[in-house]
Symmetry: C2
Amino acid sequence: MHGARPTIGDVARAAGVTKGTVSLAYSGKRPVAEETRRRVFAAAESLRWTASSSAQALATSRTSTIGLVIARRPEIIATDTFFPRFIAGCEAVLAEAGMGLMLNVVTDEDAETAAYERYAAGRVDGVILLDVKQGDRRPDLVRELGLTAVMLTAEAPHEDDPVDTPVVYTEDAAAVGELVDLLVGAGHTSIAHVSGPLRYVHAAARRDAFVDAMTHHGLRPDRIVEGDFTAASGRDATAALVDRADRPSAIVYANDVMAIAGLSYARSSGLRVPEDLSVTGFDDSELSAHLSPGLTSVSTGADVRGAVAARTLLAALGGDARRPVLVDGTVVVRRGSIAPPSRH
Amino acid sequence: MHGARPTIGDVARAAGVTKGTVSLAYSGKRPVAEETRRRVFAAAESLRWTASSSAQALATSRTSTIGLVIARRPEIIATDTFFPRFIAGCEAVLAEAGMGLMLNVVTDEDAETAAYERYAAGRVDGVILLDVKQGDRRPDLVRELGLTAVMLTAEAPHEDDPVDTPVVYTEDAAAVGELVDLLVGAGHTSIAHVSGPLRYVHAAARRDAFVDAMTHHGLRPDRIVEGDFTAASGRDATAALVDRADRPSAIVYANDVMAIAGLSYARSSGLRVPEDLSVTGFDDSELSAHLSPGLTSVSTGADVRGAVAARTLLAALGGDARRPVLVDGTVVVRRGSIAPPSRH
DNA sequence: CTGAAAGCGCTTACAG
DNA sequence: CTGAAAGCGCTTACAG
């Protein structure tokens, strides 16, 4: 059973046709007589043949796989529920299209570049760019390497951005605005923000949205602490914000994990949540929905974004370059972590 | 810059040698004169050549990539911090060996089988089998397909298991025993267990270990609720256990997420943690370390397991079939979620 | 130590 | 609609 896998030649011989005909019967790129088609399929099935993907890749210079490199520290990847959900979403559309997903987790920039270079050596047809940074050089890099790419961002591309790589985006700003509205509506005036690493455009976009929303309400958006999406940073940022006389009455966190850690810290230092401190998260992890009280958060459809990104990339590979596509699943999920501020 | 990637022929021509020599210079499989070696490298560098992996794959019938299929519902993948940490660990050793990782996320068994079949069509050289189930058919399947495999389990293989696929295992039983010891030592006698899905051998192993440890202490291990690793199931199981007169004074959860959700539920229903209810988790997520109080859990070195699994698979691919290898990083991490039981 | 050539398993013009 | 053959870009015996 091992060893000698059947080749297209074996199938051709068994079916009494040439290799070309077998190929055509499977690809459908040219008509094949119904009768011989049947013979070919029967032969292939009885030999349990499936085309060798390396041979196909060499002949077509298409690998039928796309690449994804994640450049974050393992703790963060483990902590952030975005990645697995995003990947699951990709997979759903890739599997359907018979494509594979090659994944690379890297920790420094050299390794990142190396990963893309390996990709370009005929390992993948295209890539999805996540965690876009200010002045990100990856769009240029992948273009130079001849890889088609799509990138995921958290705001609509600016008119003047000369983005020649397709963009899939969410509008996080609106959701952050809604969160602030909710808080202000409940009576809060002293609201802080714990952001993600501001070198990421999505983290900066959420921070900017926070500033805008506060300003819009005539409030001072001057309490912003930069976190890094880990629980540790959420706790530390919360401590910095809350262990002082003029503590805020509400905190808007840039992700759920930081919010949960912060909430836990606040409680342990004697504050009631939400009575003394209201909190909101971002990205709506499963845990947040099953805490008591639940964490008000914003669901950004990580899986949907994965699916759309994959679909957009497939289209781009097919030569169909699209205008930026908006993923419209961003919605605020209200749970019990907001209350009117207590006097203190 | 696009289009015509240089081939080994271009390099050979530029260096004034044959393609065979270029190949040999890079692979080192046969000696090449220092002088011509230099010429070859110089030519390759100036042409920015790297070997096409599909051509290499076809010529050697080695793809230099390994496959991993994860067969869980997306919510669970997103919730469980094991997978990303495991993958990061794999990556570290794969990258070093110039290998790639192909990932598939599937939701039903047909898709799972299909994924392995695609793998076998020359997409990967070997696979890592996770989440082994009782009577798991994947070892047979992959063997039939001619894929080398290694599988990850949570207990030493039995003598009589005719395992011809290499095994990498942890000894979760000892850690569970330690947890129970800790609880019993603190004075608990009424201890419950919220398990993972018992069709998984790792979940069953933890459950069995719980039963054994309780029995060892002369306690009745009769309160076991089966969860599914999600926060939702952790909360529901906790409710079932705690909303009654004879509630346990401590709960041993099979993972951290269930423990955190359970803890939160218990608190919201008026119990103090740990004073009224002690809890322990499993797998030591980053969040658990930064909660207040922290969650006592067991670190099982997901990343180390990933690294060891990858290394073992590479060895197996090299023809080096090993005896089962124990990953010895399982250690109980004591934090503040255990206290002596309060009278009630 | 190096060259010339066959072969890996497909796809795709080119004829008919 | 189908056959015969070249080609994709490597590696690896086989000679020398």
